[in-house]
Assembly symmetry: C2
Homo-oligomer: 122 residues x 2
């Protein structure tokens, strides 16, 4: 019998456009937990769940739900943008995402996605 | 200006009554995030928030809310039992708790609380 592994977690830090940015990724069997923060906060907590009943050959669609914090339309867009590829790479596991960014520009989102890739725990 | 610290996280593993048990504690400025798991899952996600308008000299009362998973009365009891002291020690910060235990006996809860104390990040 394999020993049960301890929870895997990786984190990284980077300065994007002068703003300190932290990424923490933790693997659970039923969720990938990711925090992206420029405030040191968990921030808005969003679940990104693959929809098993929809989607096409490129993969399932994803449903986003704000669990904690302000429920704003852009939050859902950002959450899908940064977390969909993680869900797909992790065997369609849902993602739990804590999001508190000062800057939501395309450049920041691109760098943040690269930071997530460097913290691959799935 | 102090450099912003990287997110602090500690974890520990223990075998309680033959069951492998993992605890992960992570500090955010607005939440302490704790996962207690015997399944490797995030499990039921509960927020434990001190109520600023109630309570007496022994400290504020706490409100529990299930954000993900089954909303069962005992979940609220366990969540308050293991997380209230963390919230109090962490300057009345709210706690975000992932709970997936196979065994909810008093003995397990006591050991789990000791494990949380050994992962103090607040």
């Amino acid at each position: 019998m394999d020993p049960q592994p301890i929870i895997r977690s990786k984190q990284t830090e980077n300065t994007i456009k002068g703003i300190q940015t932290q990424v923490v990724c933790t693997e659970f069997s039923n969720y990938i937990f990711i925090v992206l923060t420029q405030y040191g906060k968990i921030g808005t907590l969003v679940s990104i769940t693959p929809d098993t009943k929809s989607g096409d050959i490129s993969g399932p669609l994803h449903t986003t739900k704000v669990l904690l914090g302000k429920d704003e339309p852009l939050t859902h867009v950002y959450a899908k943008n940064v977390a969909t590829f993680v869900s797909q790479e992790a065997g369609n596991r849902p993602v739990l995402l804590g999001l508190s960014l000062k800057d939501n520009s395309a450049e920041t989102m691109k760098t943040v996605k690269d930071m997530i890739k460097s913290c691959k725990v799935w």
